[in-house]
């Protein structure tokens, strides 16, 4: 049975009709029209579906939609404002952190979350991004992008 689930998606309130146990990934993609978050495996292994839920990094393919009730959900669509990319997006663009781009939305969300809460990954960027597979880059340019993102943020004096 479908039910109404209300939450904040990138700062806007949304109400969707979805099966409560349906993974949040599909609720976002099919019901909230937010297809920036990607499917890669549906088993919590690839991180393509990574979003931020109440300040926690989650794999949306493993989270039942009902858990979003009343929550703040952030996805790739919410990062840039009309004229400006988020520092992490800008850094991925400049440094070659995105190739085919399919891992990128999830990877960038994990990157943003890490810059907000570096203490949660004592091993630094490699540890923070461990749950996000990228088959194209070998991660080298993603690491460069994360360094660059920090530079952009400190140059602009903005928070991630």
């Amino acid at each position: 049975m479908k039910q109404s689930i209300s939450f904040t998606l990138n700062g806007k309130s949304v109400t969707i009709e979805a099966h409560p146990m349906q993974p949040l990934l599909y609720a976002l993609r099919d019901d909230a029209d937010a297809v920036g978050t990607k499917y890669g495996c549906g088993e919590g292994e690839c991180g393509a579906c990574t979003v931020i839920l109440n300040d926690e990094l989650v794999m949306s393919c493993l989270v039942p939609a009902v858990q979003a009730e009343g929550a703040r959900v952030e996805t790739i669509e919410g990062l840039a404002d009309a004229n400006e990319l988020h520092a992490v997006q800008q850094a991925f663009l400049e440094s070659g952190g995105a190739q085919c781009g399919i891992c990128t939305p999830g990877m960038i969300m994990a990157g943003v979350h890490h810059l907000r809460h570096p203490e949660r990954a004592p091993g630094g960027v490699p540890e923070a991004l461990e749950g996000n597979l990228c088959r194209c880059t070998g991660y080298t340019r993603i690491f460069t992008a994360m360094k660059r993102a920090k530079e952009i943020l400190s140059a602009n004096g903005t928070a991630p």
Binding site: R29, V35, G36, T37, K38, Y39, G40, C41, G42, E43, E45, C46, A48, T75, I76, E77, L79, A80, L85, Q89, Q90, F92, L93, E94, S95, G96, A98, Q99, C100, G101, I102, C103, T104, P105, I108, G123, V125, P126, E127, A128, L129, E130, G131, N132, L133, C134, R135, C136, T137, G138, Y139, T140, R141, I142, F143
Partner: protein, 709 residues
């Protein structure tokens, strides 16, 4: 058309930002699964659970409203063959099953959940037959033989004869976006949108399966989330299936695979077995090579003949051999067909020759770097194919620099064999573009059109799949036209609109197709004769120019003798790998991989580094953790939970340095880049691990469990 020096160039050689990059970092890029299709049905594929036999019956059980379903079987296919090199592979099984996961039936319904349920309610009864699963047991699918010089005499008189056997495993591509197509008919015309590398391969396959004319088929590429060869031939099958369902349902159909189905049913890298025998002098001067190369082709021909060909044509490495006997065989088995994967047979044979060279050096008591240095091929030397090397390979310089960057000499001296730290190297090359006469047959065409805003649009069927096609072509066109790179756009590949610039494979896009982009732009520039494009467009409307591939004079290849110039150019590289092996867990860790690389002119440094680093990471995975467990030919571990690819936490430090040696026939001097980095890490890693734990392994993947034994 001479190569201008880099100093005069405005866009070539610059890290111009990826054209479609903003769409990718904002999540706006549209992949196939992001496309909305109101009224579409969801398709699913029923697949064989046995590897070999006959279908006795199919029954539709359960509490399923079958009358609401669209169901397609072999009888619904106008011509039940997937057209590629051969046409032996059926679109859907017609009674006979030759591999597990072979498609038998297609079903579709507007309720995606119900389709899954319905699939489980179908029962197939089989009459099983014994299958063939080992290289060398079944029928030969393809064979090549190449001989040069008096190899028998060389072996008979040799001071040292050394031989070894080398194996490489299958590998799954794990593009993070799974395969998928959406098909829609309009009367007798079919349009498919999907994730793929080669729009015209899909076009041809649809045309044959539905007995249509060229103009009745339109294949559109969506943003594609990785390919690596895995979306070269396999998407043709997916597209035909989607189109069959859509035709019968008279509705659009989405056929998008989940990860498990994709990994189980799609192509993999061909497993290989190589037996290498070499003759040399006591001080390590190579005299002759005998290379026997065997690969598993799977149940149908697909691309195996060309994979086998590229494999054997890279088996002799960047060395001079006075005599050679090269023998290659591909076998049919009851595995799902093996297919294209970055490197296309070359990583397999290069693994063997490079592992062999290191083993030979040990046998002779020489440093592996010095044995190689003694035998490098030079300009003017002949390869075993008879091809005279016309460029300057400069392997010595590439090796010296790699040894210096990695501090090889000191480390090799300081790290005793068996100390848990090891260092290994490999030296290798990769041919740019299609083998032999392949580029001539392709006869690729590239178009360029003027645009209203005073710019130009590149029209090609070469696809962007992560490597940066749109960006490098814009740079090349802008440079040749003399306009700003921001004014060059890239037309989304769609067979109705773009000319056939050939498939996006074989490290040919930047170098060979890029050269055609350059020529088309030069032709356009001539036509414009200095006129401002905006004005020209306002006055005359769109101007369009097209050019076709012309082979370089003197580039001759004989398909019968398998002799001649196999490739117009080679890219060259040296890898040095440093590993640590944890004494308790036996986990090897590739901590640094240094690579010096000659891919000719670098069109876009950030993109070129990305190609090399990404290829190296895939090769590290293939060598150390990506273990395809085959059971009756099927990849049993077809989930990301049990097939492990490298993560950010195990990423090696990758040091890349380009040492460009421009190729006169490549775009602004560019040579192939995509596949080369896949070739070298495997043998260098195994050498380093052997060094670290004093072992003699000769295969990949080399799993930690094996090292504990």
């Amino acid at each position: 058309m001479s190569i201008t020096t880099e100093k005069e160039l405005k866009f070539v050689g610059k890290s111009v930002l990826r054209k479609e990059g903003i769409d990718k970092v904002t999540g706006r890029a549209q992949y196939i699964d992001d496309v909305k299709t109101p009224g579409a049905l969801y398709g699913k594929t029923l697949r064989s659970k046995i590897a070999c036999g006959r279908i006795k019956s199919i029954s539709f059980g359960g509490n399923i409203p079958w009358n609401e379903f669209t169901i397609v079987d072999a009888r619904d296919v106008p011509y039940n063959r997937v057209m590629l090199i051969e046409s032996d592979q059926p679109v859907l099984c017609d009674g006979v099953v030759l591999h597990k996961e072979e498609p038998i039936l297609l079903i579709a319904h507007e309720d995606a959940g119900l389709v899954e349920e319905a699939l489980r309610a179908i029962t197939v009864e089989y009459e099983k037959e014994p299958g063939v699963f080992e290289i060398g047991q079944g029928k030969v699918l393809k064979q090549y033989d190449i001989e040069e010089g008096d190899w028998q005499k060389e072996f008979a008189n040799a001071e040292v004869v050394f031989e070894g056997e080398y194996r490489t495993g299958a590998q799954e591509h794990v593009y993070i976006e799974t395969n998928g197509f959406i098909a829609q008919w309009d009367g007798d015309n079919i349009t498919v949108h999907g994730s793929h590398q080669c729009p015209y391969y899909v076009h041809k396959a649809l045309k044959y399966a539905f007995k249509l004319q060229d103009h009745q088929v339109n294949v559109v590429q969506m943003t594609t989330g990785g390919g690596f060869g895995g979306k070269e031939d396999f998407p043709s099958v997916v597209a035909i299936h989607a189109a069959l369902l859509a035709r019968k349902a008279r509705r659009p159909v989405r056929l998008i695979y989940d990860r498990a189905e994709d990994m189980a049913s799609s192509t993999k890298r061909h497993p290989s077995l190589s037996r290498v025998r070499t003759a040399c002098t006591k001080d390590g001067v190579l005299r002759a090579i005998e290379f026997n190369f065997y690969i598993d082709g799977g149940a149908y021909v697909t691309l195996s003949p060309v994979v086998l060909s590229r494999g054997i044509l890279h088996s002799f490495g960047p060395y001079k051999w006075p005599a050679a006997k090269l023998h290659a065989q591909c076998y049919f088995t009851n595995s799902p067909p093996y297919g294209a994967f970055r490197g296309f047979g070359a990583p397999q044979s290069i693994f063997a020759i490079e592992a062999h060279m290191t083993a030979l050096a040990d046998h002779l008591g020489m440093d592996p770097a010095e044995l190689r240095r003694k035998n490098f091929i030079h300009r003017g030397d002949a390869m075993p194919t008879g091809q005279i090397v016309e460029e300057t390979p400069n392997m010595e310089a590439l090796m010296d620099r790699a040894l210096e960057l990695s501090d090889y000499k000191r480390k090799r001296g300081a790290w005793k064999r068996g100390s848990g730290k090891g260092i290994g190297l490999s030296t290798f090359m990769h041919g740019t573009g299609f083998t032999g006469s392949g580029e001539v047959y392709l006869a690729s065409r590239v178009g360029i059109a003027t645009t209203r805003n005073g710019g130009a649009e590149v029209r090609v069927s070469s696809t962007e799949i992560g490597q940066g096609t749109e960006t490098v072509f814009a740079q090349i066109a802008a440079e040749a036209l003399g306009i700003d790179v921001a004014k060059v756009s890239f037309r989304r590949p769609e067979t109705k609109v773009v000319p056939n610039s050939g498939p996006t494979v074989a490290s040919r896009t930047c170098s060979i197709v890029g050269r055609l982009v350059q020529r088309a732009a030069e032709k356009m520039k001539q036509r414009l004769a200095g006129a401002d494009i905006g004005h020209h467009y306002a006055e005359h409307g769109e101007a369009y120019e097209e050019v076709e591939y012309v082979p370089r004079p003197g580039l001759v290849w004989d398909d019968n003798t398998y002799k001649g110039s196999a490739y117009g150019a080679f890219s060259w590289s040296v890898n040095v790998v440093e590993v640590d092996v944890d004494p308790v867990t036996a986990m090897p860790k590739v901590h640094t991989l240094t690579s010096t690389v000659d891919i000719g002119t670098i069109i876009n440094p950030v993109l070129a580094y990305g190609q090399v680093e990404g290829g190296i990471a895939q090769a590290i995975g293939w060598s150390t953790c990506e273990n395809v467990v085959l059971k009756e030919g099927l990849m049993e571990n077809h989930h990301l939970t049990n097939y492990v690819i490298p993560t950010a936490a195990d990423a090696a430090k990758i040091v890349v340095e380009f040492m460009p040696n421009p190729y006169s026939e490549g775009a602004f001097g560019a040579k192939g880049v995509g596949e080369l980095p896949m070739d070298g890490p495997g043998p260098a890693i195994v050498s380093a691990i052997n060094d670290a734990i004093n072992a003699r392994f000769t295969h990949i993947p080399l799993m930690p469990e094996e090292m504990l034994k």
